[in-house]
């Protein structure tokens, strides 16, 4: 298999990581909504942690993107 084709396949495979990230982000906000419906007064206080958790999980998606770019353009 030539390198160019292998690179494209590798970059495509790297996006499989986004499945886990999707589950993770859905988990965060799903739990936030469930918690906020039970205890609306605490919702505003915990929203900062929600955003932090979202950004940390999103970072994993972006690590996968960086790996895909590395495979495509750096090797």
């Amino acid at each position: 298999m030539e390198a160019e084709a292998a690179k494209l396949i590798g970059a495509g495979l790297a996006t499989i990581a986004l499945a886990g990230v999707g589950v993770g982000i859905g988990n965060i906000f799903g739990n936030f909504v469930a918690g906020a419906l039970r205890n609306p007064g605490a919702a505003n206080r915990v929203f900062g942690n929600v955003l932090l958790g979202f950004a940390l999980t999103e970072a994993v998606a972006l690590f996968a993107l960086v790996i895909a770019f590395l495979i495509l353009f750096a090797f």
Partner: protein
């Protein structure tokens, strides 16, 4: 990548505005440096002009400056503890530098300094090295307690401690990579969809245009969120350094 020979990655090119050379080392004033200067100038202007009045009952601009101070002060107090107060100027500067660099990058035809890994890595390295030095200065060799969580059975420690050490050294990498990838991916997406608008023309160009409007709003939100996340993670790392083993 697109017709007309313009690539979505062209926006990240470093252009030398004033070529300067110091003994063979290239220290030109680049477009990256220019936008960093603009970011600092905007932040300084906002804060000094805001606090100029020093009214007891703050007006709009003074409220903005005071709210910014309180926001970061509360963040440090909640996440780094009372021992984090001396580091307030650094963390405040960090937050507003990243915030203004990110937000000014949303201006059309501007340049986002934080979309280059070397800029974000420089900042993350400063935080990492600073926090490590603070950890050893405040706790001496007891700082190693950070890698040995309390209440862990001895056999598990042989696996856990190397993992903790590795994840400690991954911190500057993940911190910098998060900000860099968010900025680069966001701006690349904006450019790619902008290209779609033009190539689809008058007939169907409104669809990517609508998406582009929503994406721009999202990118402004992400610009602010990433500045917040960088700073709050720095506060958490500082907390680890000041109170290892908690």
């Amino acid at each position: 990548m697109a017709a007309g020979g313009h690539s979505p990655l062209e926006q990240f090119e470093i252009k030398q505005l004033i070529p300067l050379n110091a003994g063979g080392v290239d220290i030109s004033f680049t477009n990256s440096a220019l936008w960093m200067v603009i970011a600092i100038a905007a932040a300084t202007l906002l804060l000094t002009m805001g606090m100029r009045g020093r009214a007891m009952v703050p007006g709009r601009l003074q409220s903005l400056a005071e709210l910014s101070y309180e926001f970061i002060a509360n963040m440090i107090r909640d996440n780094a503890g009372s021992g984090g107060k001396p580091y307030f100027p650094f963390l405040f500067t960090l937050f507003f530098f990243i915030l203004f660099c990110n937000l000014l990058g949303m201006v059309p035809y501007s340049f986002t300094p934080t979309s280059h890994i070397i800029v974000t890595f420089g900042m993350a390295l400063i935080v990492f090295i600073g926090v490590t030095i603070i950890g050893f200065a405040k706790n001496g060799l007891g700082f190693i307690r950070l890698f040995v969580p309390s209440g862990v059975p001895i056999p598990l420690l042989f696996i856990l401690v190397p993992i903790e050490i590795i994840s400690y050294f991954v911190r500057p990498i993940s911190l910098s990579l998060r900000l860099f990838a968010n900025m680069m991916a966001g701006h690349t997406m904006l450019k790619v969809f902008g290209g779609f608008v033009i190539s689809l023309g008058f007939v169907a160009g409104w669809a990517p245009l609508a998406f582009l409007v929503a994406l721009t709003g999202l990118e402004i939100g992400i610009a602010m969120l990433q500045a917040y996340v960088f700073t709050i993670l720095s506060c958490l790392y500082l907390h680890d350094a000041l109170h290892p083993g908690h």
